[in-house]
Symmetry: C2
Subunit: 267 residues, 2 copies
């Protein structure tokens, strides 16, 4: 059942390696997640890898044994390889002892059930995959339904985003859309669109939020386009007491999301 690969030039190794490259990842519609913790989170969320890759010198672990059995039972592939070969796949000198190949999720906006959660995070032109993964992690923490990516954002299935999400890539819905498409979808049902803004904005602690509340943050250096903000139901701002005029995008989303959560829960 378990296949062993020893050579660096094995075609499977090459195919796995190629998933680190965005172009290949998009073509294959597959992505890599590294580490037992992430794979266990995925399994707990009902998602198994199509391919499970394990280092031959790994420490035994009951969770890994269970995972292997489930992957095999589901018709997936289990591959064992030297740590040095695995390092080639993950691009890391000290790779985790296990990684998995997952099918990309459906990111179709029309398939989101907006009533499934009181909070949704929305990012526009977010460029940093670490920020993107952190937003997924925050979304999980505040009980958000998912993250909607507007215009050209970092790839949510990149290794860095998956890692920073700490497993939330498997629990949060992810949708991708251009702005006009998003706005049309949003206005086709209930939903309050709240922009993190510096212009004409009300204090975030004094604002009235309504579920489902869509919290929108903009690009790391440019913020949101003015016409995007104008189309929002509410523009809120957090106090800036120092010299800087903005927060890190993932931080701003978290501060707002926790305020919205508290207000919606009747704090």
């Amino acid at each position: 059942m378990r296949r062993t690969i020893t050579g660096f030039s094995n075609p499977t190794v090459k195919a796995l390696r190629a998933l680190r490259d965005k172009k290949h990842r998009k073509r294959e519609r597959r992505f890599l997640a590294e580490g037992l913790r992430l794979l266990t989170d995925a399994r707990a969320s009902g998602t198994l890898p199509e391919v499970l890759v394990m280092a031959s010198g790994r420490d035994p672990h009951p969770l890994l044994d269970e995972l292997e059995a489930e992957v095999a039972a589901a018709g997936g592939e289990v591959i064992e390889m030297d740590e040095a070969v695995l390092a080639k796949v993950t691009g890391k000198d000290n790779p985790q002892a296990v990684c998995g190949v997952f099918a990309e999720f459906n990111t179709n906006l029309a398939d989101l059930d907006r009533l499934a959660a009181p909070i949704w995070l929305v990012a526009q032109a977010l460029r940093d995959p670490g920020n993107l993964g952190t937003m997924l992690r925050t979304g999980d923490a505040v009980g958000a339904g998912g993250l909607i990516l507007i215009d050209d954002c970092a790839d949510p299935f990149s290794a860095e985003a998956v890692r920073a999400s700490m497993g939330a890539v498997f629990t949060q819905a992810i949708a991708q859309a251009r702005w006009p498409e998003f706005l049309a979808w949003l206005r086709g049902g209930p939903g309050q669109l709240v922009a993190a803004s510096l212009r004409d904005a009300v204090d975030y602690r004094a604002a009235a939020y309504q579920a489902p509340c869509f919290i929108l943050v903009g690009n790391e250096s440019r913020g949101l386009p003015e016409d995007y903000e104008a189309a929002c139901d509410l523009r809120v701002t957090v106090p800036m007491k120092g010299r800087a005029d903005s927060l890190n995008a993932a931080v701003a989303a978290a501060v707002l999301a926790y305020e919205v959560l508290a207000k919606l829960e009747g704090d």
Copy 2:
């Protein structure tokens, strides 16, 4: 006044390059900051680079002219080099057109004036320089006095931390100390020590905060040691509605810091 360097093997180029390496940085007690935005922030905070490095092909900019004049007037060095040579210094394919060499700041805990600000951020064994820089940026935003780094943390003067701080490395005080030293210092004056915690913690919205409030977050994967938490005046937690049991460290610090700010201001 302005010196031009053309060769890659110039000793000044080598010396500047070496500042990307932590060991050299510590020995020289100097660090690099890249980009006109950061250098302008530094200048506005009263800090000039000892050495100003400019790409010869840069676009002219009045702020850069002013900066050059001030650096020269202060007895600093101004160096012009090809973009390709500058790329060697910064280690980036597309370097910003300007960078500066700064003397490291005093990070002596005993020199902090705790009454200078109502909020202080404290991080223990924080490993990610991006998180560290983001905490500095958040500290600036909430009007904190600075960031206290406990035990072995990432280097606040690394390029990644400086970049993520968005200039706050020049406005926030930075102190470094081991835990016993910090605790002795803290208890030698007024100050409420508040841990971001999962154990025996009260809801962060229901807690009573007092200035000067020291907000302590722990290592990215292990959190705070139990005995550190026990020594705190208050352990607070934020709701975790999903599968994950923790937030990103910089996000947790920000959510707490904004709550403390609102409470201290009488929200």
